[in-house]
């Protein structure tokens, strides 16, 4: 992982992301779900950091299937 690739989030950072994205998406997080949601954001951030530490070229296009 280089200095510029994302690091896994701390719990506090994950909570801040949850609050901001919750407002952006108008998705309220019920109180009993907050701790679990934060834990899962942290887990996803670990996976995302691992993925994003891999160098990709401009020619590596996203994979989803789309047919017009």
């Amino acid at each position: 992982m280089t200095e510029t690739t994302p690091k896994p989030l701390t719990e506090a950072e994950a909570e801040a992301l949850m609050e901001a994205a919750s407002r952006a998406l108008s998705l309220p997080i019920p109180e009993p779900c907050r701790a679990g949601t934060i834990a899962n954001i942290v887990a996803a951030s670990q996976a995302a950091a691992f993925v994003m530490s891999f160098p990709l070229a401009d020619t590596d296009e996203a994979a989803p299937v789309f047919r017009a």
């Binding site: 998705l27 997080i29 679990g36 899962n40 996803a44 951030s45 691992f50 994979a63 989803p64």
Partner: protein, 472 residues
């Protein structure tokens, strides 16, 4: 029990193709087979909890139609009179599609059957019910907070696997010879492995998903679970074909495979997956793969590059696509979700787009590298799960000497393959030291289901792949 009822009940211990042959040759009626299956479900489902809905009257009506076709000399179809059931995320006309959820059972009843069900019935099969599953398919355990867990027929205290847990339990428990499941990250292969049956996850885009509730659309596959390879092939053949209702369905020729199971595996280049797929397994798991490789004379090793990162990328894409799919429901009814899925869906809905797109771009890179491997080999063998069926309720497992959360890690070996849509046949390949079934993945290049099924069929002929007997 009458002679015909006894004969029909005995047939349920065999496979679907044998049942269809008996019905087509008038040795037994489809109605007798349907009644026998309904009786078994009535007797055994209390302990297995595999079925959530039983469509008895529909089954009897369908069976009568098959018998009328036979009596009038019309072709009743290759699956004539075969009882089957579908994971309850498939639309069944007249039933709300619950997809393992509490919320889904408030839906209006489906107005038509899913394409996969329609096509199996057009081939003569008889739907007898809908099957338990992990909520909204976000599951590897077969547990469900609303319906209770489906249970493993080899040990009722253990998980069936998920998310198609009822499918695995119903087929392994001899309630039906054939069941429909779906596989996003392993949801056909994990229950097939835990329950000791065969499962086929076809190439992404091969079989129509129309009328099946999606989970992570860019990974979702439909496929069968059965107790023989020829049954997998017969079900696959019946479900082939174009369908404008599934935008992911690829424009490829629908080539049936039932008459192509005799390919000699010695003509194929077969290798065992190393690296990621040869580490972190419980005792017996890798030995099962080696036994299969030895039976095939396969000594070559290959390594799928960056498989661990592929799994991480699959995790990100799954949670984002799943969270986004459920956004409206999460806004309105988050507390009605199964606690085991709720917080994962909520988190997935909130993640940055940059994470998702990086994972999708890595997916294209990985796909290209793995396709290059298939220039050198035709079939790759790998374990299906890192451990046999855990006890119901277990929360952790040991992986490489470390205690880790159980749920996400059951998919250790399945996720890097469905990530790029490869066709995989999961075969029952031996038992763990504690006597539980173990699965082995037979993996082929995209659109080469014929090779994976032919290898599985050869292993079945040699007695290496076979469904283990149930405890007395």
């Amino acid at each position: 029990m009458t002679d015909e009822a006894t004969a029909a009940d005995t047939l349920l211990d065999g496979d679907a193709v044998a049942i269809a042959a008996a019905v087509r040759s008038r040795r037994v009626t489809a109605l007798a087979v349907a009644e026998a299956a309904l009786a078994r479900i009535g007797a055994r489902n209390r302990s297995l909890n595999a079925f959530t809905d039983i469509t008895a009257e529909r089954a009897r009506a369908a069976a009568r139609r098959v018998d009328e076709a036979v009596a009038s000399g019309r072709d009743p179809g290759p699956l004539a009179g075969v009882p089957f059931a579908a994971k309850n995320l498939f639309d069944v006309a007249g039933l709300p599609t619950r997809a393992g959820s509490r919320i889904g059972r408030d839906n209006a009843p489906a107005t038509r059957d899913a394409t996969a069900i329609r096509r199996l019935e057009a081939a003569g099969a008889v739907l007898v019910g809908a099957l338990n599953m992990g909520e909204y398919a976000y599951d590897f355990t077969g547990e469900n907070a609303h319906d209770g867990p489906s249970r493993n027929p080899h040990d009722l205290s253990r998980m069936s696997g998920g998310s198609s847990g009822g499918s695995g339990a119903a087929v392994a428990g001899r309630l039906v010879p054939l069941a429909l499941g779906t596989d996003t990250n392993g949801s056909i292969r994990v229950p097939a492995a835990f329950c000791g049956v065969f499962g086929l996850k076809p190439t992404y885009g091969r079989l129509s998903r129309a009328g099946a509730m999606l989970f992570a659309a860019s990974f979702d596959h439909v496929g069968p679970l059965a107790r023989s390879v020829r049954d997998l092939a017969a079900a696959y053949d019946a479900m082939l074909g174009a369908d404008s209702d599934d935008p992911a369905l690829a424009p490829v020729d629908p080539v049936p495979l039932s008459d192509r199971l005799e390919i000699d595996p010695s003509e194929l280049r077969i290798a065992v997956a190393g690296g990621h797929f040869a580490a972190n397994a419980a005792p017996g798991v890798l030995e099962a793969v080696e036994a299969v490789a030895a039976a095939l004379g396969a000594t070559r090793r290959v390594e799928l590059p960056e498989a661990a990162r592929a799994r991480a990328a699959a995790f990100v894409i799954t949670t984002v696509e799943g969270g986004n799919l459920h956004l409206e429901r999460l806004r309105a009814r988050a507390m009605d979700y199964d606690p085991a899925t709720r917080d994962r869906f909520l988190a997935g809905a909130l993640l940055p787009a940059g994470w998702y797109l990086a994972a999708q771009r890595f997916r294209a890179w990985y796909r290209a590298r793995v396709l290059a491997l298939f220039e050198e080999v035709d079939v790759i063998l790998a374990p299906a799960t890192p451990l046999p069926a855990p006890p119901i309720g277990a929360q952790t497992m040991t992986l490489g000497g470390n205690t880790v959360p159980l749920r996400p890690n059951i998919g250790l070996y399945t996720q890097p393959l469905s990530f790029i849509g490869l066709p995989v046949v999961c075969i029952p390949g031996g038992r763990s030291p504690e006597g539980l079934p173990l699965g082995v993945q037979v993996i082929a290049a995209p659109w080469a289901e014929d090779k994976a099924l032919a290898v599985a069929a050869a292993l079945e002929r040699h007695g290496v792949a076979r469904c283990p007997e149930l405890p007395a």
